[in-house]
Amino acid sequence: MRLSFYPGCSLEGMANDYARSIDAVFKDLGIELVEIKDWSCCGSTAAHSLNQAMSAVLPARNLAAAEKMGLDLVSPCAMCFNRLRFSQNMIKKKVFDIPWPVTGNIRVHDMTRFLAEPPMIKLIKERILKPLNRLRVVCYYGCQMVRPPKITGYTDYENPQTIDRIVAATGAKVIDWSYKATCCGASIGVARKEIGESLTRRILQKARQTGAEAIVVSCPLCQSNLDMIQKDRSKRHTPVFYFTEFLRLSFEEHGDPKWFKMHFTDPVPLLKTKGLLS
């Protein structure tokens, strides 16, 4: 199976560990990801905030490139996924001029939903060498991947299940909770720290109250926000994993502590006590 892959800017910088774990996991699953040549930024929040036309045009360039390859597109970043889908809608409505030849007819998957399809879950289960069955986690989705449902196509947007299913397949115990799709504040923390922190702290606190030992996410910005707020290293640690890091850990007999060196809250001690890392 081949898919075109749109990594997005975060995966080159802050979420480089996410990118590496995706590489490893898809190699293990035998799915080829073809990176879109010369991709460009999707515009993120800034484009739709200040210049709506650009927010439809910018992702279209990448959609055009994927169409040229004739491959469905998969995006690991929640924001990119949302913007690509939005642009696709706009292309079909023909409200903005798109300077590239593009029809908007390919399928845009978000990575979690793609891997949560029953055949994929089966494939994942076959690859697992080391079940993570002593870990108790909560899964966190954030906003852009699930909302607005009109664009993302999620029908269970109040209680999304994609990451839950994937993580459950690795054997870990997934705890149900109510803050799955509550906003983490996104980039507001850069300019208005107190707002960002108030949102992130609440999510973290609720996650801890469920008794979870870790949080599993799929969005680079959610990961940074939830991870970096714990930088004071006081009292409790709740590591924040990408779901692909989880998969990678279960796919390989011997994990490597180096995989997690970009994390602020070091997950290695937790994994060691659970006997998942040596």
């Binding site: 800017c9 975060s10 080159e12 910088g13 802050m14 480089n16 010369d38 991709w39 460009s40 930024c41 515009g43 993120s44 929040t45 800034a46 484009a47 739709h48 905030s49 200040l50 210049n51 709506q52 036309a53 650009m54 045009v57 910018l58 360039r61 001029d97 300077p99 590239w100 906003c143 909302r147 607005p148 449902p149 947007y157 509550t182 906003c183 504040g185 996104a186 980039s187 507001i188 850069v190 300019a191 208005r192 720290k193 707002i195 949102l199 940074s224 970096m228 930088k231 060196k261 970009m262 994390h263 602020f264």
Partner: protein, 211 residues
């Protein structure tokens, strides 16, 4: 017992002490314009406040999401463009998702934010507006956004550094930056996309430049 709400003008805290605004015919005009441009049926709102109750940051806003919709109906354009609401909104889409009348509140707020960006009104939340603008500038320069370049560009914007010093978070920022560098999360150099030229061209077209 004295009736607490004896004076109707005092009934709403928001109105008290302020000059009463007249509705005028602009209401109709502005409402139609907004409905046309966003494709949202703003008239359908019956002020149930579900949007505001769903909003995670409504307590930081001066005009709450449901009030925003009412203001649009009344044509109070300047008040909206001057509000902190349009900049505080996270575009998290909670409001739009839960509105019983399918009023796309997030889209309305986003549209107002676009309007404000193209108006002469100084944004109330300047640092947030500047951050968005910086992001787009970096995007135009390299086709992709590198966090290191973004933060550098943001700090060199007038007034931002001073504001951080005043808030006393500069040292914290620097330490965070160093930790990020050490952990390899901030990359000093990442490849640029060859899309820059094409993107610049579209941008100038959007600004109405023909050649």
């Amino acid at each position: 017992m004295q009736n607490v709400i004896s004076d109707p003008d005092q009934a709403h805290e928001h109105d008290s002490g302020e000059e009463r605004k007249l509705i005028g015919d602009r209401g109709y005009y502005f409402l139609n314009r907004m409905q046309g441009e966003t494709g949202v049926n703003i008239s359908a709102c019956y002020q149930c406040e579900r949007c505001t109750n769903a909003c995670p940051v409504s307590h930081f806003m001066d005009i709450k999401p449901h009030q925003t919709i009412r203001y649009v109906q009344l044509g109070w354009r300047e008040d909206l463009l001057k509000s902190s609401t349009i900049w505080i909104c996270l575009s998290c889409e909670m409001c739009s998702t839960y509105c019983p009348n399918e009023v796309d509140v997030a889209e309305i707020i986003n549209h107002l934010r676009n309007m404000a960006a193209h108006s002469s009104i100084t944004p109330k939340e300047r640092s947030l507006a500047v951050f968005h603008q910086t992001f787009l500038e970096v995007l135009q320069k390299s086709g992709r956004v590198n966090e290191f370049r973004l933060m550098n560009a943001y700090y060199s914007k007038p007034g931002i550094l001073k504001e951080r010093v005043k808030q006393g978070i500069l040292v914290e920022d620097l330490l965070l930056g160093m930790t990020l560098l050490r952990k390899g999360r901030l990359k000093l150099f990442t490849p640029k996309s060859r899309a820059i030229k094409e993107i610049k061209k579209v941008y100038s077209q959007k600004r109405g430049e023909i050649v």
